[in-house]
Amino acid sequence: MLVLSRKANQSIMIGDSIEIQVVDIKGDQVKIGIDAPRSVTIHRKEVYVGIQDENRRAAKSTGSNVTGLSELFKKNDKHK
């Protein structure tokens, strides 16, 4: 991993269309501003990893009885 030191208001360019700026530093928290084309998706890593982990759990669970699931759902859906 490339490591660079930056102060508040300084930036890093990634390629020629992505700019990452240190907006503010307070204690152990850093505020980061990102300028990127709309086609680039930006997310907090823990959200991304959380979804990945949940997908893996979901893929493991699909072997279970599908008819049973449907009945469980309908039993709770009393308006149908």
């Binding site: 709309r38 086609s39 680039v40 998706t41 997310h43 959200v47 991304y48 959380g50 979804i51 990945q52 982990d53 949940e54 997908n55 893996r56 759990r57 979901a58 893929a59 669970s61 699909t62 072997g63 279970s64 009885n65 599908v66 008819t67 049973g68 699931l69 449907s70 469980l72 759902f73 309908k74 709770n76 859906d77 009393k78 308006h79």
Partner: protein, 150 residues
């Protein structure tokens, strides 16, 4: 029509119209680019069966069915990437996780699967609605939704 092996339903016949293209794959399963969306008869659930990977499938449900006041909020860039111009163009699903006790099944509303119903191009997106997380108790939410309807 072609016959495929599916994890949820065994051998089934599928048509081209059920074949969904995920150019970026599903998070954690990026190597799979095509799935078949299988209807499970009179059931609120669907199976998203990986093409050429019999053992990989996801159970899907439409969040509107069990979440009261469900609102899909996703980055515009995701909709543009899928060529979605209006709400009518899209199908929106949540992936369901079934634990040992299926009563405790959960749905991932933070990472919904969005499909352009015309082109059948899809993507798992990350919701911008901060109310949603990866583990919504489906039956509990359903009972709550019913309660509000009374």
């Amino acid at each position: 029509m072609v016959k495929i092996k599916s994890k949820a339903l065994g051998e089934v016949e599928v048509s081209e119209k059920q074949r969904i293209h995920f150019p970026d794959g599903i998070l954690g399963f990026e190597f799979i680019k095509h799935y078949y969306l299988l209807d499970m008869g009179d059931s609120p659930f669907y199976s998203l069966q990986a093409e050429e990977e019999d053992e990989i499938a996801f159970i899907l449900i439409q969040p509107e069915l069990f979440v009261s006041d469900y609102k899909l909020v996703v980055p515009r860039s995701d909709l543009e990437a899928l060529g979605i111009k209006q709400e009518d163009d899209l199908l929106d699903f949540a992936i369901v996780t079934i634990p040992e006790n299926p009563e405790k099944m959960t749905a991932n509303l933070q990472g919904p699967v969005i499909i352009n119903r015309h082109s059948r191009i899809a993507r798992q997106v990350i919701s911008l609605n901060e109310k949603y997380h990866t583990k919504h108790a489906v039956l509990e939410a359903l009972r709550q939704k019913q309660g509000e309807a009374d």
